[in-house]
């Protein structure tokens, strides 16, 4: 039955998310969902993350615009909520740091002027949770990441052969193949990310019963300091993105707005490193070989 089906919220550790820089759409339509492809081959339009909220600031000028930093054992991710995510913004504003939070959000890529690609999450929902939930998330995310790594390992080598005369068919067809080709993913590196997360969880559990929440959060803050340099560039970017969201949400658009959202949408494609034509061919290839 054709119709709307909700996008799955993928489980990805912060370190892997931060190494992600490829976004794409399945079809060439500005309203088509955009996906982030991560190094281990997760194709995500939505992410579920649980970690320690270590900072949260209102960085808006006229209207409130909240930025929070959520930390997991592997690193930190910035989470944004503005006037187009009113419930999440209000929640973020009301949570005292540090606290364990669960975030459901959309990944958002931004390219800085010096060419760096920075990722953040635009929060759909944010909620204070307990430490037990954070533990479950780490185990859950470790499992899912491990599954993706297994798929990566068992996948055929990059540029697998297809027994067909169609030239375009030699392009990779699965998320795993695409991730391999785009990131040249080192499975060992991400296995270590998983191990690090699990080892840290194991240590937390060893430290005994549930009295460690403040301490754990502080512990995580220190880790985060080492990896996250500038947030200001992303602030500008995500504000821009939330602008876009507004444009996209309004059903009755004027032509000028339409053009605007079109340009902002196309801004994401250059990140892929593919030219427009190849991008399109690629999509076509996917549809030819998609299992239905």
């Amino acid at each position: 039955m054709a119709g709307f089906s909700r996008e799955v919220a993928r489980r990805i550790f912060a370190e892997e998310l931060r190494n992600s820089n490829r976004s794409f759409r399945d079809v060439e339509d500005q309203y088509a969902p955009s996906y982030l492809l991560t190094p281990t081959g997760a194709k995500c339009n939505r992410v579920f993350m649980v970690g320690a909220l270590t900072e949260r600031d209102n960085i808006g000028s006229d209207t409130e615009y909240w930025r929070g930093r959520v930390v997991d054992p592997t690193g930190s991710i910035l989470v944004y909520a503005g006037q187009y995510q009113p419930e999440a913004a209000q929640k973020l504003a009301s949570i005292e740091t540090p606290a364990f939070v669960a975030v459901v959000g959309k990944p958002n890529l931004y390219q800085t002027e010096d060419g760096n690609v920075i990722i953040s999450l635009r929060a759909e929902a944010i909620q204070r949770v307990d430490e037990a939930t954070r533990d479950r998330w780490i185990l859950d995310t470790a499992r899912r990441t491990q599954e993706r790594l297994k798929a990566l390992e068992s996948a055929s080598p990059v540029l697998a052969e297809f027994s067909t005369a169609d030239k375009a068919a030699s392009l990779p067809s699965t998320d795993v193949d695409q991730a391999k080709q785009h990131y040249n993913t080192d499975v060992k590196q991400y296995r270590q990310v998983v191990m690090r997360a699990l080892a840290s969880l194991r240590m937390d559990l060893d430290r005994g019963p549930r009295t460690r929440s403040d301490e754990a959060a502080m512990h995580d803050v220190n880790k985060a300091d080492a990896v996250e340099p500038d947030a200001s560039a992303i602030d500008a970017a995500t504000k821009d993105a939330s602008h876009q969201a507004k444009v996209k949400l309004e059903p009755k658009q004027e032509t000028t707005k339409k053009n605007r959202s079109k340009t902002t949408a196309s801004k994401e494609t250059p990140l892929s490193g593919f030219s427009g034509r190849e991008e399109q061919d690629e999509v076509e290839t996917i549809s030819v070989f998609k299992k239905s």
Partner: protein, 410 residues
Amino acid sequence: MKELVDQIKTRLMDQNIEVPEEDIVARLKKLVEDFHVPEAEARRSVLNYFLKEHGVVLVRASSEPVKVSEISEPNRWVDLDVKVLALWEPASDAISQTGLVGDSTGTIKFVKWSKSGLPDLVEGRSYSIKRVVTDEYQGKPSVKLNRTSQVVELDHDVDATAVIRSGPAEDNKIADISEAGHWVNLKTKVVQLWDSNNETISQSGLVGDETGSLKFVKWAKADLPELIEGKSYSLQNVVTDEYQGRFSVKLNRTSKIEELDFDVEVGSQSVDFTGAMVDIQKGSGLIKRCPICRRSLAKGICGEHGKVDGTYDLRIKAVLDDGRRVQDIIINRETTERLVGLTLEEAKKMAMDTLDHEVVRAMIEERLLGRYYTVTGPRVDRYILVEIINETPVVVARDVDELIRLVEVD
């Protein structure tokens, strides 16, 4: 313009394709001048056009005429003479048509991509389809009609009758339906009829038997008698379909409906799902229901009975997500009261104090959102009607150690 033409020429040369310059110019001019296509867009379009032309040549050389039963491996380019036996509803906008085609040797699923630009196939007619690519999913072969494929209607009928006879519908229970494209007979009761806003569908809704319930679609073209909610029927020769792991049955022209003189008892099999609660949906919390049909009201109005004096109820509509799949769940009043620690009376008082129903939903979010739960209950359409819900057990060292060992071994 000259620059664009040169760019296109170079790109084509890269592919060893030689196209006369005036052909490129003509096509480009048409797009840019007659259709006001932006240059970059036009360039791509022209390039694709000639590449496609070239692709056709490449593929034409390698497709071969076959019979349906000879298709056994994916990624072969083949030509077939077939009759369209059934058309199913496409599961995605990317697909313009899907269904079953057959010849004297067997039947096979086909998918016609929207991008193929091919004319629509008509059920019951016979076609020569050329340069289609074979595919395989879970051991079942199919053919895909893409941009390079060709469809020509035949003036003679392809004999596919032997095939239909060789695959008689089996008597089935709903819970046993596990594959799409199977012909089955069911004895069911109509649990629910839905409003159809699609003119190709005469009726749709839920049918159930003692093992469960599933969606049915009765095509307008099927020309079958109307089903009545609450009555039991024998549905014969209906075809199973699947979308995102959920099964349905389609009633078409070859199907038969007979009312049963006994009542089919609708039961259900309980299923489990574990995941994080990622959304508490609108319509959760304190709601009002129609006193006649129990449907939830929108602004005091029942879809069936108009403006009514509703009765209060408490429920949760939520989404669980395990990172691979999402599962919609509905939690009834009793379970909601226990889970949230809030009775219907307390919820009513809360809402009255704040003059806002939403305060109840906000409280539910506060308690449940972002946490991990395991639910058990019967599956009805896309929902699990939750009978049991528990937070998943606390992570203990043993869980972590087990996973660490697993990661180390791999």
